[in-house]
């Protein structure tokens, strides 16, 4: 199985810390052990968890040659979870995503048995569960324990690793014993996972941030920024908090084009920010944030 690494994708930006995350996800799939370890990736909203998870699944499934006469092979199954009422629903959503939509049981052990069969038929190597925090209750308690046990049973019976994507609230899944006070149970799920990975937002002065900006603006034909364009990159960072999703939103709402001057571009971004972001202080408005103040903030 060969996969393109960072910055070789036309669809998403895989530079900077993304390349390491990508490699760690690949390592999960390429494990050669009887009981492969799973991975939990968390980060704030908009840092790129869903993009990388989806793209990873697409890349894995891209190598498979479809054969109409045999069962389709899906090395990766990507599931975007909705709010669940029970652990059985978690398993049902995975089964639905694989393509079986009829006659599903309601008991966890039945569903795991069925899922195991389907995973074998389709030769699945990894299950990616996005928005995993939707499956968890707000507080640690019996329901969290049930989800934890379900995932444990799923891992043990199917031998297919999981990649869980979610917000920082997802961390409590691996910290059950530290949270529960009323019941003392030996936590089991954490030892089936590798060390969790946190996806940060881009730092202000990182080269990767500029690369990320250029990746998005290149689609509009705009000339790439360099390190000399620190003001603009800093303003963009303030506006989007270094998150890819917000950056994409800002760029798409701003009427940017290749022939704009820098002042015109700034105005366009100002309008775009005003249209899409609910902040009162517009970082692209020189009256709100002058160059001098910007320098002070960013300590450049």
């Amino acid at each position: 199985m060969t996969h393109q690494l960072a910055s070789h994708s036309d669809e998403i930006y895989l530079g900077g810390h993304y390349s390491k995350i990508w490699q760690k996800m690949l390592n999960v799939v390429q494990q050669d052990v009887d009981y492969p370890y799973s991975l939990l990736i968390y980060g704030q909203s908009g840092v790129g968890k869903t993009s990388i998870g989806k793209h990873f699944a697409q890349e894995l499934n891209k190598d498979v040659v479809p054969d109409p006469s045999s069962t389709p092979v899906y090395p990766a199954v990507y599931v975007k979870l909705t709010t669940l009422k029970s652990p059985a629903q978690l398993l049902k959503q995975i089964i639905w995503e694989i393509g079986l939509t009829k006659g599903l049981g309601n008991e966890v052990h039945e569903l795991i048995k069925q899922l195991k069969r389907l995973l074998q038929e389709h030769k699945v190597k990894v299950i990616i569960l996005d928005e995993m925090q939707n499956a968890l209750p707000f507080a640690a308690g019996q329901k969290l324990l049930e989800i934890s046990k379900t995932l444990t049973e799923l891992l043990d019976d199917t031998h297919v690793p999981l990649i869980l994507l979610g917000t920082p609230a997802l961390k409590k899944l691996l910290e059950i014993d530290k949270r529960s006070k009323d019941f003392q149970l030996e936590e089991q799920i954490a030892r089936r996972f590798k060390n969790s990975i946190y996806i940060p937002s881009f730092p202000t002065r990182a080269k990767a941030w500029i690369e990320a900006i250029n990746f998005i603006t290149a689609k509009k034909g705009i000339a790439p920024l360099t390190t000399k364009d620190w003001q603009l990159s800093a303003r963009l960072h303030i506006a989007t908090d270094g998150r890819m999703a917000l950056l994409q939103k800002l760029i798409s709402l701003s009427k940017l084009s290749a022939d704009l001057t820098s002042d015109a571009a700034l105005d366009a971004l100002k309008e775009g920010f005003h249209e899409g972001f609910m902040e009162e202080l517009n970082p692209f408005d020189l009256e709100h944030l002058s160059a001098k103040e910007l320098k002070k903030i960013t300590s450049i």
Partner: protein, 454 residues
């Protein structure tokens, strides 16, 4: 639209339920109930109809069913118990349709006896997923199915059909008990080869003097005759049956020469003849109504439908020609139909002498049994009279009393007739005794002779 992530293609010779089991197993089900109910399975097995279309659509398997025409393999559309070759299913070979046949004994590939019953819990195998793993389908048993080498591997298909015929006869002669299909065929083979166990059986049941009052004995005569005609090959049983029948015919007919042979044709035997008649569209309607209600719609009756060839040929030796005021077979079912008298009873009455009949030897078709209408009605009345507490509907009462149905109901309102209804779902009917009393009152208006006891 398919609801399954794993699609399965039907294999050559595979049975439809076996294909559905394989589809369910590949998609991770471990109970067929999760996928479909037994009713849905039966609907699909029927192959046609609105329920079939609806069920296939609900399951999303119409494309798979088109690949191989499962519709051509239906018999009566009822799904029987599952029969499998354990060796084949362990090797992931499909469950074949021809294994489900009554005359299939072993698998043609491995010559393993087909298994229908679990030896551990003695329950019949049902169409469920454990059979694909060669295990009992009873969830509380799950014992492995035995792989037994067939001792009858040299027998041909026709020979197995003979085995089944012999079993059927023997089962009617003596209550053998419950056997699965493989056991039935093995038993039939033993009967055919006529070892010491069955020779006394034949002698016991065939050499007894036929008495219509001794219904079981005469029935066995005809059953034996039917078995004989059903055998394709020469077996030891055949010669034994022929000898016994000849002996019976010679002894019995010789004793009763000049009188009617009191032979009784049982309903089952007659049904067997009906099943042997070439089928056409009208026949299905007739047969269904006859078997379920013992009545016939005379418009649909044709000469070919009632063929008691053996009985007739025996009776014709003793037939006494009557005058021309008789009705042909074509009409007498219509006479008896309203009174709910079966054709079998008529034949019995012929044998008893209650009905005079005339057999036309010149008629090429064997069913030109002419029966005197007057005597037919006499028989009907005496038949009705036996059931004092029996009931007839308004139409029958109308015929008996030769009154219109409006007049019958008027008689009811005047208190001359009482009506009865068994439960809220049956129609009101009249008590026979009351109808005959009314008929007696109207005696001078009736052309029919009444039973003196009425």
């Amino acid at each position: 639209m398919s609801y399954f992530s794993v699609q399965v293609v039907p294999k050559s010779g595979e049975s439809l339920p076996g294909f559905l089991l394989r589809l369910a197993k590949r998609n991770g089900y471990f109970e067929l109930d999760r996928l479909m109910t037994k009713h849905q399975l039966n609907h699909i097995y029927r192959g046609t109809g609105a329920l079939y279309d609806k069920t296939v659509q609900e399951l999303g398997i119409s494309e798979q069913l088109k690949i191989r025409d499962f519709g051509s393999i239906k018999s009566n559309g009822f799904l029987k118990n599952c029969r499998v070759c354990p060796t084949c299913v362990k090797a992931s070979l499909p469950i074949l349709e021809n294994w489900q046949s009554t005359t299939a004994y072993h698998c043609d590939l491995h010559h393993t006896v087909l298994v229908e019953t679990c030896q551990a819990c003695h329950k019949n195998l049902t169409w469920d997923l454990p059979v694909l793993d060669a295990k009992c389908s009873n969830q509380y048993c799950s014992a492995p199915l035995p792989e037994i080498a067939s001792k009858l591997r040299a027998l041909s298909k026709e020979a197995f059909e003979d085995c089944y015929t012999a079993f059927t006869w023997a089962n009617m002669a003596v209550d053998i008990g419950n056997m699965n299909r493989s056991e039935q065929l093995a038993f039939g083979y033993e009967v055919l080869t006529c070892d010491k166990t069955f020779l006394p059986l034949i002698k016991e049941y065939l050499t007894q003097q036929a008495q219509y009052s001794g219904y079981p004995d005469t029935m066995r005569f005809w059953q034996a005759y039917s078995c004989l005609s059903g055998l394709n090959q020469d077996w030891a049983l055949r010669s034994a049956l022929l000898t016994a029948i000849q002996k019976l015919s010679t002894e019995h007919f010789a004793i009763t020469s000049g009188t009617l042979t009191p032979l009784y044709v049982p309903h089952d035997f007659k049904k067997h003849y009906l099943e042997g008649i070439p089928l056409d569209e009208t026949y299905f309607t007739l047969r269904k109504s006859y078997i379920s209600t013992k009545k016939v719609e005379f418009d649909t009756v044709s000469k070919e439908h009632f063929s008691f060839s053996n009985l007739i040929s025996a009776l014709c030796r003793f037939a006494i020609p009557k005058d021309s005021s008789t009705v042909s077979l074509r009409h007498w079912p219509s006479v008896i139909a309203p009174y709910r008298v079966s054709a079998t009873d008529v034949i019995l009455a012929c044998c008893q002498g209650d009905i005079d009949f005339y057999f036309d030897k010149n008629d090429q078709l064997l069913d030109s049994l002419h029966i005197s209408e007057i005597h037919m009605r006499k028989f009907v009345f005496s038949h009705l009279d036996k059931f004092e507490n029996g009931h007839v509907d308004a139409q029958a009462a109308s015929l008996i009393c030769q009154l219109s149905t409006e007049q019958i109901y008027a008689a009811k309102r005047e208190g001359l007739l009482k009506t009865y209804r068994v439960n809220n779902f049956t129609r009101r009917s009249f008590r026979v005794r009351d109808v005959l009393k009314l008929a007696r009152l109207l005696d001078n208006q009736l052309p029919l002779p009444l039973n003196s006891a009425a």
